[in-house]
Symmetry: C2
Subunit: 689 residues, 2 copies
């Protein structure tokens, strides 16, 4: 016997190349970014679904589970996956803790389920089962002696790691159940009671106990663990408000300060925002300072662009003195926190020609043969107020990279946890991957928003290598088809696993063509789209006043705040503060609106009316949103909700949340009239029966 | 110099974690199967295109090339990729030799192209270029001292491997051109001739020389080489004819022999077929032999199903004596070769209860507690004439696996190079992967056709792990939408890289519903679809006679040839031999029809008329195919060919190849009338101007 065993071992060793290939195939596992090269993204308390294709030769039954660990020091846990048909399997996980989670999928030949199925079919067909019953008994005995059973007795998992499962198959008294079943089976056999024997074999408790105990033959696992970066809620669900602190003033001649911003906090909070974002707050260069409307020469008193960072007063770690210095900044940060508002700073890697680093570290900058510095250009345009650093200069690596990292770490030490990064696509990808990892290893709560508007591959790559949120093309998606296609891409392709869109409706750089001609109804339409389509949305100050005056033919604001101080009257007629407040409130109340995922576009019978459903993973919260995309005229729509989504054909009740109307949906199709003079959209919360 | 080098190395070593991440990103490379886990498929002398997404931060110019090797002992060669816009790049390769090719993609920051672009733009805008010209001179000098130049002088490649390129940048006298340009530049400077200096810098020859010489900064390469299994032509382009040799008779009472088959060869060859495939030719079991129409009990004289393999006369390496034995087989194989026909045998891993292995190797088979053998079942159905082997029985690995391999090797030694594998999806995938590799390592010319009709994941996996061709769902795709979607999937998704469809129009197992009611026109329609949509197609004997009598309500043939000998009269009225002959001839003459790839579906303005273009990689051969899918009535179509495909809006000439009519296409839209009583399709070869 031991000789035979030795031969067997020898043969197995010899056969390594054959036997190491798995019989059960697991593929197309998600979430998975570039084959596992980068972590997927998830959010605390928000469900994500692990899916896989699992199959084997023949017609036998399989089973699969996800094994996952919530933190490096955490325990492995497992959850059984359910079959969706056509070889697809899934299990939904709700992460409880932030951190780098890991998971793998395991699948195996489910011997008992296969055998059960065969016996049940034969039994239904009235086939005699003498031999099968003997086989069944052998299965039961084998399970009692399986490695899984022995592992359970020793209180260790089959994988020699303790796995805590909400795994439904894990029942504590499995072995007792099987042992008892064998005894009863034998007694029934003695008594000649075949029907009882069959009943014992087809028994549900025995089935569950067998799933718990039986050896999982041909058990295979994904080749590598996949990573999921589980982040705090604000990484995925937040409403951003952007303002220039210097404009927190009622007089364009008086430079606003952080203390002035403090007095704005209650109004911003009341509108329902929770992130307050400032363009750069650092000293602004004097050399080549830009004047109003981006003119080449500033007049005395012109404040300059905050993106021309650095002056004799300091660089990226300093504050423009006119804003009130670090002490006022600290006061503001604390006051913001008291209002439930988180500050977000701008991180723009570019320098004015007066930046201290030009003299302290000249070798980090590009110089020309005539001894002048190479400023930013887009030939024949010149941007002499800005110089770029040279990331691959001999002395820049690692010194300059570390200096930039330390700038971030400095602001983190000042309590800033969110950074909007300016034009990351014009700086090296390895730099960002390194910097974000350096910062988040120490401070996992830090959030980086990528402000890249460029081609899709780069937009996505920035998100893959670590940016937690991203600007998007939403700002230019206006028609029903454009919006449907874009949201479908973001929510159903691989992008859904790593790209978190932040839907800004405007920015200081982008005064969208649509809003330039839409008037107030267009602002309502864009706000409704952004707040309901994405978990993250943002608004730049002035949007609530429907500001849209543009430089002719451009998407730039006229009298852009980038080059001057703007004093605003937020109580002016026609503002949409009330509607934005309501939208943000509806977002908070409806978890289905906390993500861009789980969206389904529905029939409205009108090409200018976008109609969609958002739902939570468990369908506990379902929201129906209908938005006219026409800011100029009335539209009618016949809204159709598929039976499988809600109501099951019986009708249901909804609350229209903008108007606070409770009403029955009742029939198959609901008619709605959209009036641009009123509120050109409707948001329905589906009521439980 | 060597000290500087040492410092450089030190710096690199220190920076390892940062610097090892590439600045230039290469992703979505194809052909690529599961991230490179399996080889892609290609065919000798047939172009395949390598594509990749390539990008870097900022707005600088990039360049990319494919480096590839045609055989393990071959030389690396390279080909420059061209930019398609939106970060996509491609290069087309035409493999000259069969074998396992490998390739990688390399991309780099193209310094000179970037600089050239900047200078050209500034020059056009009339910007003074004093400093830029000095920078240009520095670039030229740097290129003369670049590692690439030094490598060229030493006759070794930069990669320390000799790479032979049709790489257009590789010009032999690059260094001379640059050195001369610098001299001329300096002379022009002395003479104050700025215009000449600019001309020298923007010179085309200098541009090409710089591309050849300049250091390829941030050069990066795909992480692993990707494999392409380049096979002989018949792997990708062949017309299969299937017959039961025992039916090569004019009398169902007289068992046909291989000698009878020899007399059929001229007719089969004349129809244009080049592969002749037989169901199993081995001894057939007596136990539980099936009678006519799959009845449970055979009558005396019933020949039984050839899939019940094995009897006292032998197993899978024996020949049914009634067929004429090995000597007649050898005669047939030689005669087939003389007719340009290749034999394909069936490889069906299943045994009759009389198979010699049941007694020689009982431990390879599954036995039941009562000592009986476990035969095939699909409860409550029983297939007692067939027993399956147990691939994972203790003594089956590797002995039985090797025994199956040796069966294949035996037939290979008898000159068989093509095997149609029966139901591979019910045998373990690791077995096939191992077996195919074992066989093809020694005999790379061997072709395995997977006869799997099951769910998509398994169909595709069999192709990934090594099956060279696959049966498909084509046989059940009948409508315009079904055919369009299916061909689009096969020709545009990852499947295009590994799955070679063999479009069988019927098989002994499948008498398609469509043909049961379509009459002769339906047979013409299906033949036209198969022959023009796929490089591989197949037909089972009787199709040319429009045989379609079925078991009621089933896709099975009535009086199936699987259970009896059928004598046919191939000259009978209504046969479609002439049309099949013509179709096979058209296929041979038009390289565009040698693959299922490069298909484009076009507008026909009729939902029952499928219209598509097939073209070779270089558009040297373009075929337009219009097929009415309606076997019962006339159809009219208005066929529209996009301007970008052919003609450029000017009209063009075609030859309709079924009717041999030369005609102008002339206008935008061509009207065609399809008559099921005539030929319900048209195949146009586009004529060069």
């Amino acid at each position: 016997m031991s000789q035979a065993h030795a031969r067997q071992q020898q043969r197995k060793a010899k056969l390594h190349p054959i036997m190491e290939k798995p019989r059960v195939i697991i593929q197309d596992v998600s979430p998975c970014v570039e084959g596992g090269r980068y972590p997927a993204k998830a959010t605390v308390n928000q469900a994500y679904t692990v899916r896989a294709t699992v199959f084997m030769d023949g017609h036998d039954k399989l089973a699969a589970r996800v094994i996952y660990k919530e933190a490096p020091q955490g325990k492995w846990r497992s959850k059984i996956m359910r079959s969706l048909g056509n070889d697809r399997w899934e299990a939904t996980l709700v992460p409880e803790k932030a951190g780098m989670h890991r998971f793998r999928v395991e699948a195996w030949f489910d011997q008992w389920a296969t055998f059960y199925d065969e016996i049940a079919k034969k039994h239904r067909a009235g086939v005699p089962l003498h031999v099968e019953l003997q086989e069944a008994r052998m299965h039961l005995l084998a399970a009692l002696h399986s490695p899984r059973h022995r592992a359970r007795e020793d209180q260790v998992d089959y994988l020699s790691e303790v796995i805590e499962g909400d795994d439904e198959y894990r029942i504590p008294d499995a072995a007792e159940i099987i042992a008892a079943a064998v005894d009863e089976f034998d007694a029934a056999e003695k008594a000649g009671n075949v029907e009882l024997q069959i009943e014992l074999i087809l028994n549900d408790r025995v089935f569950k106990a067998m799933e718990a105990l039986e050896e999982r033959r041909f058990c295979t696992s994904t080749a590598q663990d996949l990573l999921v970066d589980v982040e705090r809620t604000k990484a995925n669900f937040a409403s951003w408000y952007e303002l220039f602190p210097r404009s927190a003033t009622n007089d364009p001649q008086r430079h606003g300060t952080f203390l002035d911003v403090i007095s704005r906090l209650p109004a911003i909070k009341a509108m329902g925002f929770d992130v307050l974002y400032f363009p750069p707050i650092h000293p602004i260069g004097q050399s080549f300072r830009k004047g109003k409307n981006n003119t080449l020469e500033a007049k005395p008193g012109d404040p300059g662009s905050p993106y021309a960072i650095g002056s004799a007063e300091g660089g990226h770690d300093a504050i423009l003195p006119e804003l009130g210095g670090i002490e006022q900044f600290r006061q503001l940060r604390a006051a913001a926190e008291d209002h439930g508002l988180e500050l977000a700073l701008d991180f723009a890697i570019q320098c004015s020609q007066d930046h201290p680093w030009l003299t302290e570290h000249p070798d980090w900058f590009p110089w020309r043969p005539d001894g002048t510095i190479k400023y930013a250009e887009n030939p024949p345009k010149k941007y002499q107020d800005i110089v770029n650093v040279n990331f691959y200069a001999a002395t820049a690596v690692p010194d300059m990279w570390e200096a930039w990292r330390d700038i971030i770490l400095y602001w983190v030490s000042e309590g800033v946890k969110t950074f909007r990064v300016d034009n990351p696509h014009t700086k090296p990808l390895p730099f960002w991957e390194w910097l974000i990892q350096e910062v988040r290893t120490k401070h996992p709560e830090v959030i980086f928003l990528s402000e890249a508007f460029t081609r899709p591959a780069m937009m996505y790559q920035l998100a893959k290598i670590g940016f937690n949120q991203s600007y998007t093309y939403f700002i230019w998606r206006e028609t029903k088809q454009e919006l449907t296609e874009y949201l479908t891409e973001l929510s159903t392709t691989e992008a859904k696993d790593f790209y978190r869109p932040n839907f800004f409706v405007n920015t200081p750089d982008i005064n969208p063509h649509f809003l330039q001609t839409s008037g107030r109804p267009g602002f309502l339409i864009r706000a409704a789209l952004a707040t309901t389509l994405s978990g993250l949305w943002g608004m730049y100050s002035g949007f609530e006043l429907c500001e849209s005056a543009a430089l002719p033919g451009k998407e730039e604001y006229l009298d852009s705040e980038k080059y001057e101080i703007k004093a605003r009257d937020f109580s002016q007629r026609g503002n949409i503060i009330k509607e934005i407040t309501r939208l943000n409130h509806i977002r908070k109340e409806n978890p289905a609106l906390h993500t861009h995922l789980n969206v389904r576009f529905l029939e409205s019978h009108n090409d200018r009316v976008l109609f969609y459903a958002k739902h939570t993973h468990d369908f506990g919260n379902i929201v129906l949103v209908a938005i006219s995309l026409d800011p100029h005229g009335s539209q009618d729509a016949w809204l159709k909700v598929p039976d499988d989504l809600v109501g099951g054909g019986k009708g249901f009740r909804v609350t229209e949340m903008m108007r606070d109307i409770d009403m029955p949906w009742g029939h198959d199709v609901q008619h709605w009239h959209f009036n641009p003079g009123e509120i050109p959209f409707a948001i329905f919360q589906v009521q439980a029966d």
